[in-house]
């Protein structure tokens, strides 16, 4: 019986290990490829004739995402105002509302939610646009004209993300604090002076720096992942042509969002 049992165990374990191993290798391979791709693109940011494209992309990723960031920031601040007000009332600490809202937004919710909103709005667009350029041979056309496609398509988007993410995060934080003021002060009657005093006194430079560091990390992740997914959509095994572009866009958004949350934990554990 013993040898038979051994065979059964090995039959069950080997495919499992093989599956996990192959998945891990694929994952590591992808991370490595994204890292190399990002490095190449990052170096090319500083080449000549990039400024015009970077400004265009700052407009697309940054300026055109500001409305959605404003709306989400406003309502996030308003919801936080409501939730925290009724929680703090239980402990008789309504005066700390400004501190609670500002710290939550600046340290955590601002960078994360802003990044997720930009991913949804601009990241998906980046992946789809580059994907379409790829499947219609426009990327090959760039190469054939002596233009480095990574330099022309990817580098400006990465630079624009690095510029836009911290700015939009700051914008989100500011609007969120105003949203908290609307519900906490104007709706629920907390003292306005106390609210802003607490905001000012509780926020330190370290908190603000932490938020910005996170937003920079998220910018790198989102731009790198979205550009990578679009650029290599023709190499996907799960679809070709338009379908590949669709799959690449979905992957870009999902991977970016998951990576944002994972990176948020990692960065927070380092800066706390």
């Amino acid at each position: 019986m013993a040898p038979l049992a051994k065979i059964h165990i090995s039959n069950a374990i080997v495919p499992l290990f093989s599956f996990v191993g192959a998945g891990t290798l694929r994952l590591l391979g992808n991370f490595g490829a994204i890292a190399v791709f990002f490095s190449l693109a990052f170096v090319n940011i500083f080449r000549r004739k990039q400024l015009r494209e970077i400004v265009k992309q700052v407009f697309y990723i940054g300026a055109r995402s500001s409305l959605i960031v404003l709306l989400v920031g406003l309502f996030t601040g308003m919801v936080l105002g409501l939730q925290l007000f009724y929680t703090l009332v239980k402990f008789g600490s309504v005066g700390a509302l400004g501190s609670a809202i500002s710290l939550t937004l600046v340290r955590e919710m601002g960078p994360v939610l802003a990044a997720i909103m930009i991913t949804a709005r601009a990241g998906s667009g980046i992946a789809a646009e580059i994907g379409i350029l790829r499947i219609s041979e426009q990327v090959d056309a760039l190469y054939s004209m002596g233009v480095d496609p990574v330099r022309y398509l990817v580098s400006p988007r990465i630079a624009a993300a690095i510029i836009s993410f911290p700015l939009l995060t700051a914008f989100f934080d500011l609007i969120g604090i105003i949203g908290g003021y609307l519900t906490g002060v104007l709706l629920l009657g907390t003292n306005g002076g106390t609210y802003f005093y607490r905001v000012q006194s509780s926020l330190s430079m370290v908190d603000i720096q932490g938020g910005f560091i996170k937003s920079l990390v998220f910018a790198i992740i989102v731009s790198g992942v979205c550009c990578y997914q679009g650029y290599f959509c023709h190499m996907r095994s799960d679809g070709y042509g338009a379908k590949a572009v669709g799959m690449a866009t979905v992957s870009a958004v999902v991977i970016s969002c998951v990576m944002i949350l994972v990176a948020d934990y990692v960065v927070t554990s380092f800066i706390m």
Partner: protein, 416 residues
């Protein structure tokens, strides 16, 4: 022979299990037009993409001016690549840019020319390719033919040394097809570039090609001139060439060369040896007309000549075909040489009065009313003996060629 500009040495390319190129050996020489033909899926586009480095070979070596590309430094390869332009099969225009921006793109990105200089060059190319009315349009607003011309303008705007054309005439009408081919020959002469082209526009592509390469089952089935391909009579190649060459020449509506050859053989086989047969060789200096009046006018002249040859001689049993880009040979069965001369004289009169007038409008648009240009149509008449090969008939007729029609374009119309 000189060192090839580009050489494939045992190049193999596989996509998964499928071997697309199997130990390909071929040479492309400087200042020549090399045409690659082959059935769909034989790796023609893949081969072309290897030249510019869009696809890397799995085995073998690609040499550029005798030097293996794989051993070149990055800067060296970049310098080589900057001399090459590529015209994609599906055009690959940047669809978020206008026609002007598409054509200007390579200049803006890869040169340090001033804005004015870029504008000047771009407008010149746009005018050359008759795209002026589409200059501010986006690719999606253009017809397939216009998109092709925009792609061609973009490929030529940097004055490249080597131009790779991946089916440049696909989706074009016969006139435009020939215009594009004329333009390729014209620019090749003007700028001295080397052209490598994938095309199936027979017979015109053979008239302009210096060498042809036939890809067959992933390998090079033939490499050489068209005449050599026809002479060799390799069964597979012969069958393939025949399948490409239709019964009729698309531009002139004359017989294809193959159909002409069959008619000629049948005529010799069916007629008694005593029956007189004559031939006339008509020709136009297409290059001169092209230079002076543009390719559209040149092709209109050729088309008019072809159509009139058919109209005038077919009812009396004559049959004609284009045997080079600008030469039409007509065989008159049961016709003595004197009768043939009379037929040609009558034909010249009608051609001058009716057909060539259409060219006038195009010519005036190009050169204006003040200047003039004379289009000469030549003809040589000869008798044909039953042992004469088609080439021999042409040689004999060429000796006796003289001008039969002079059409003055610009300031006057018909002359002589």
């Amino acid at each position: 022979m000189a060192t090839p500009l580009i050489e494939f040495d045992n190049v193999t390319k596989r996509f998964g299990e499928k071997t697309v190129l199997d130990k390909i050996n071929l040479k492309i020489y400087e200042n020549q037009i090399t045409t690659i033909i082959g059935k769909s899926g034989t790796g023609k586009s893949v081969l072309l993409k290897h030249i510019i480095g869009l696809i890397k070979q799995d085995e073998g070596t690609i040499l550029f001016q005798g030097k293996p590309v794989d051993t070149m430094k990055k800067s060296e390869w970049k310098a080589c690549r900057s001399q090459i332009a590529f015209l994609f099969q599906n055009n690959a225009l940047l669809d978020s840019m206008t026609v002007f921006d598409n054509v200007a793109f390579p200049l803006r990105q890869t040169t340090s020319l001033s804005r004015d200089e870029i504008k000047k060059r771009v407008l010149q190319r746009i005018e050359d390719l008759e795209l002026t009315e589409a200059i501010h349009k986006f690719p999606s607003e253009l017809s397939g033919g216009m998109q092709k011309r925009v792609a061609l303008a973009r490929a030529l705007v940097t004055d490249p040394k080597i131009v790779l054309f991946d089916e440049p005439t696909t989706g074009q009408d016969p006139i435009r097809k020939n215009m594009i081919l004329s333009m390729i020959t014209h620019y090749r002469r003007k700028f001295g570039f080397t052209a490598v082209m994938i095309s199936h526009d027979i017979p015109d592509v053979f008239f302009i090609s210096d060498r042809i390469i036939i890809l067959w089952e992933g390998a090079v089935g033939f490499e050489g001139t068209y005449e050599e391909a026809v002479k060799k009579k390799l069964p597979l190649i012969d069958e393939f060439l025949r399948s490409l060459e239709g019964f009729e020449d698309e531009l002139t509506s004359l017989l294809s060369r193959e159909a002409f050859r069959m008619h000629y053989s049948a005529m010799l086989g069916g007629s008694s040896t005593a029956a007189a047969v004559s031939a006339a060789l008509f020709s136009i200096r297409l290059n001169l007309v092209n230079e002076a009046l543009g390719s559209q006018a040149a092709l209109e002249v050729l088309r008019a000549l072809g159509k009139y040859t058919n109209k005038r001689f077919r009812p009396i049993g004559g049959f004609s075909a284009r045997h080079s880009r600008d030469e039409i040979l007509t065989i008159f069965p049961h016709t003595s040489i004197d009768e043939a001369r009379q037929l040609v004289a009558g034909f010249a009169q009608e051609l001058k009065c009716e057909a060539l007038d259409r060219v006038q409008g195009i010519a005036i648009a190009r050169i204006g009313k003040e200047t003039s240009f004379d289009i000469h149509i030549r003809a040589g008449v000869t008798s044909v003996s039953s042992t004469d090969a088609i080439n021999q008939i042409m040689d004999k007729a060429r000796v006796d060629q003289e001008i039969i029609v002079t059409h003055r374009c610009g300031s006057g119309g018909n002359e002589q």
